[in-house]
């Protein structure tokens, strides 16, 4: 009994930081419609800044002062990011801003590495609260009790601010229709900045508060963001009490998980989330998300037409050049281009469901990594030959997509995105924690192609056929009635349902199709590398694909693979430098600000301006 209560108390204490980060994320999303991927980075900065301040400021006052100051400083850093990075791109198409926040993650990672070094920092303990108290014989740290008391106060203050003050009313109004709030005389630019400050300060506060419990390290950003998304989704987007409730549930569950089922702690959280969303699609205390009423900005998407003869000849020429690559370049280039083609197929599969179907997935790596793991497992445990494994990889990924799609598509918009992220994390934790089968962190090795394909040049042609074929198939699907039905469901689900289209089923099939293609890419990947590790299933991998699709241009047919080739090529070059994340992050931010329509979209615009291409209205 004593242990039970002690564990609940530990869970409650852990909920504090999680709640603060989650409520900040949800607040920022509500008003600015920016899904701030970098929110975990602000949490990490809070921990590092707090640590440094505690080294200078002495005693109890110094400790708590350092925590508050860390919150303020991180809030100010958030403001700088908002003004420099996000303000220029608010008018870009929806969700484009998240690419910019991904750039911010990379930049902050390298800056933290430069300033605080690669070693994990052990957090100082709180002066005056270093001891434990005994509850029914079980020791509970005094600091935990302090956290349990502090968190509800923060939550209440936040709730009061949002529901009872004029500023809060404006924030809630802006959540619904920010242009109208501006037309009523409210300076929305500063309202956005204010909300960003508050949200980031909360994340920083959370990071600093957990210092005595967890310290500071460079992996904090990604390790919390998954849980934070889960909390936001379980609690319900935009609901503060919901976020608190969900943070408590998840934290308590984690503590019990560590004791009773240490092999499945990570999985447990996602299972709970899926169960909650099956019964309450908008979270425990959330409201139905009415997306894009006045949020839709940017130019409307253009009608698509199959390529004309000129473009077809150009593409054919390019493909011939690509096909002849082994004849005019070295081994290194062949391997690199193999990787690039595989990644392009992965990106194109996400682009297909995102661009045509409007289905924004944050967890597409589940199918890429899933396909790769499926192939690797068959080879390892059943001695399956490569040929068969390459067939089984997309089939397994497709089956996974059938199941995951069925659950995720019950929700829409940002809930859908978060659910896919959760499933990605679920598969990742399976691969990571089920070491007996998947090898855990050590991965699965010695997955080599059959003898006839073991030569790099031969494997290159194998990848060429499957990747280019896959990309062309995806493109054909976009021009076929199925692709049109996907766009119909996205443009106006209301009209589509009223003309006999089962929109959910169309989306389900599209989701599965994209999953199969990603699985194929995964299968090709594993035989190209000879091994597979859990990081191919990571959220970071899903984000890679997402970034690529947006960088390439969502509203263009070629965006997926063009972005993929660009990103993978640049990354290969940059990773030779020590601070490559910083460079890549800045490059991403740069592209986002200069070309908000993506590479293909911006090139098309430029082509139209100098008269090389026709605009759709000229063409009539």
């Amino acid at each position: 009994m004593g242990l039970f209560i002690a564990q609940i108390l530990t869970g409650l204490a852990n909920a504090g930081a999680l709640f603060m980060v989650a409520s900040g994320l949800s607040l920022i999303f509500g008003v600015t419609r920016v899904v701030n991927f970098a929110h975990g980075s602000f949490y990490m900065l809070g921990a590092y800044v707090g640590y440094s301040l505690m080294q200078v400021l002495p005693g109890m006052v110094g400790f708590w002062g350092a925590i508050l100051l860390a919150g303020l400083i991180v809030g100010v850093i958030g403001v700088i990011v908002e003004i420099c990075v996000l303000r220029p791109v608010y008018s870009a198409p929806e969700l484009f801003q998240l690419v910019a926040t991904f750039g911010v993650i990379l930049v902050i990672q390298d800056l933290a590495l430069m300033i605080w070094g690669p070693t994990d920092l052990l957090g100082p303990r709180a002066p005056g609260l270093k001891g434990v108290i005994r509850i029914m014989g079980e020791p509970v740290p005094q600091y935990d009790i302090a956290l349990i008391i502090i968190t509800p106060f923060v939550a209440f203050a936040l709730w009061y601010l949002i529901t009872k003050t004029r500023v809060g009313t404006l924030v809630r109004a802006a959540t619904q229709d920010r242009e109208m709030v501006g037309a009523l005389g409210v300076n929305q630019a500063w309202l956005f900045t204010g909300v960003f400050f508050l949200g980031c300060a909360l994340a920083g506060l959370g990071g600093a508060l957990q210092l005595p419990k967890g310290g500071a390290d460079l992996l904090m950003d990604f390790s919390i963001i998954g849980s934070v998304f889960v909390v936001v989704v379980i609690g319900g987007m935009g609901s503060l009490p919901g976020a608190y409730l969900a943070a408590v549930i998840i934290s308590v569950l984690n503590v019990f998980g560590v004791t009773y089922a240490p092999q499945s702690t990570l999985v447990l959280m996602f299972v709970v989330m899926v169960i909650v969303l099956m019964f309450r699609p908008f979270g425990l205390l959330g409201k139905e998300e009415i997306a894009g009423e006045h949020g839709q900005t940017g130019e409307p998407e253009r009608p698509i037409k199959p390529a004309g003869n000129r473009v077809r000849m150009l593409v054919t020429a390019g493909l011939v050049l690509l096909a002849l690559l082994p004849f005019y370049s070295g081994n290194f280039a062949v391997v690199l281009v193999t990787d690039i083609m595989i990644f392009c197929l992965f990106a194109a599969s996400l682009h297909f469901m995102l661009g045509q179907g409007g289905l924004v997935s944050f967890g597409h790596a589940a199918f890429f990594g899933g396909g790769a793991y499926a192939a690797a497992l068959f080879v390892t445990y059943a001695d399956t030959p490569m040929e068969l494994a390459l067939v089984l990889a997309p089939i397994c990924a497709g089956l996974a997509a059938v199941v995951i799609g069925w659950v995720c598509l019950r929700s829409t918009g940002v809930y859908f995105a978060m659910l896919t992220l959760a499933f990605g994390q679920l598969l990742w934790s399976l691969a990571f924690q089920w070491g007996d089968v998947t090898g855990g962190d050590d991965g699965l090795v010695n997955i080599w192609p059959s003898d006839w394909a073991s030569d790099n040049d031969v494997y290159y042609y194998l990848a060429f056929v499957f990747c280019i074929g896959g990309i062309l198939l995806l493109r054909q699907a976009a021009h076929a009635p199925f692709g049109y039905a996907m766009r119909a469901a996205r443009d106006s689900a209301r009209q589509a349902e009223a003309m006999g289209i089962n929109t959910k089923r169309i989306q389900w099939v599209a989701f599965t199709f994209a999953g199969i293609m990603a699985g194929l890419a995964g299968g090709l990947f594993v035989f190209s590398k000879g091994s597979i590790f859990p990081n191919e299933l990571e959220t970071a991998r899903s984000f890679d694909a997402l970034i690529v699709v947006f960088l390439g241009g969502v509203k263009t047919l070629a965006g997926g693979w063009v972005g993929g080739a660009f990103f993978e090529g640049v990354k290969d070059y940059l990773t030779r430098f020590e601070y490559w994340r910083l460079a890549l992050g800045l490059l991403i931010i740069f592209v986002v600000i200069l070309g908000p329509e993506g590479i293909v979209g911006s090139l098309r615009k430029a082509g139209e301006r100098i008269g090389l291409l026709k605009t759709p209205e000229d063409a009539k």
């Binding site: 039905a485 209301r494 099939v509 009539k620």
Partner: protein
């Protein structure tokens, strides 16, 4: 002759509020029936139940003798009911003709095809439908740049794609200029004559309602308070009180300027 649409004791509650309360009516073949009433009287709720967006709390809706109450919109559409929306719903990323082709692809059950080029399918049929509503010359335009009145006409063409026996039109002329309103309803009336379709529509513009409907029903606080010809409704004192108003303000002005 048996009615196309037969509604009996249709009701819908939201909590304690009876949004639609025991509504019954018939719609004959070829009839143009208007449903009017103040804002919040239950017109939209009533309409949404007929179209499948909402499940009735009780009552039946029979289309050609089959109960369609509570069916999904897409099933109702497959049974031959076309509809247009109060706020136009078209596919902004497609051209005008592709919007109609989409409806035809659905009608011919080709949605899951991957081999054909969609923009070549049923093109002639689609152009013929566009011609019916006078939009053939705009077939290749991008839907997102159309004027509002043209979108309304496009929606009508889309609604005709599955050869409906019944058209449900929710405020078909909302947001249009007076001359366009009359033209659109005239067009609807012509199509109805040619094809023998029945139409049920809601509308706030009394010029349109009085000029074109064969029969008018008035809804107030969820109940049907009047059902009759144009003249009967115009002169019904209860309808004047809850909906039409005295018209004094405008009449005085008009007399002054006349």
């Amino acid at each position: 002759m048996s009615p196309i649409l037969s509604v009996r004791n249709l009701s819908r509650n939201f909590g304690a509020i009876k949004a639609v309360d025991d509504v019954s009516f018939d719609l004959a073949k070829g009839e143009l029936l208007a449903l009017i009433g103040p804002n919040g009287a239950g017109k939209s709720t009533c309409f949404n139940m007929l179209m499948g967006q909402l499940k009735p709390s009780s009552g039946t809706v029979q289309l050609m003798g089959k109960n369609i109450a509570g069916m999904q919109p897409r099933k109702i559409w497959r049974m031959g009911v076309g509809r247009t929306f109060q706020i136009t719903a078209t596919y902004a990323s497609m051209t005008v003709v592709e919007n109609v082709q989409m409806a035809l692809m659905s009608h011919h059950k080709r949605l899951y095809s991957l081999t054909k080029f969609a923009h070549k399918l049923y093109r002639d049929e689609a152009l013929a439908l566009l011609d019916t509503v006078g939009m053939a010359d705009q077939a290749e335009r991008h839907c997102a740049v159309l004027a509002y009145g043209d979108l309304k006409r496009l929606e009508l063409a889309v609604a005709l794609a599955n050869d409906p026996i019944l058209l449900l039109m929710d405020e078909p002329t909302a947001g249009m200029a007076p001359r366009e309103r009359i033209a659109l309803m005239q067009l609807t009336a012509d199509i109805l004559d040619q094809r023998g379709i029945s139409v049920l529509f809601t509308e706030h513009d009394m010029d349109v309602v009085f000029a074109h409907s064969h029969r008018i029903m008035v809804l107030n606080r969820g109940q049907l308070i009047a059902d009759g010809t144009v003249d009967e409704i115009r002169n019904n004192p209860q309808v004047q009180e809850v909906y039409l108003g005295g018209g004094t303000l405008f009449k005085a002005q008009e007399n002054a300027h006349a």
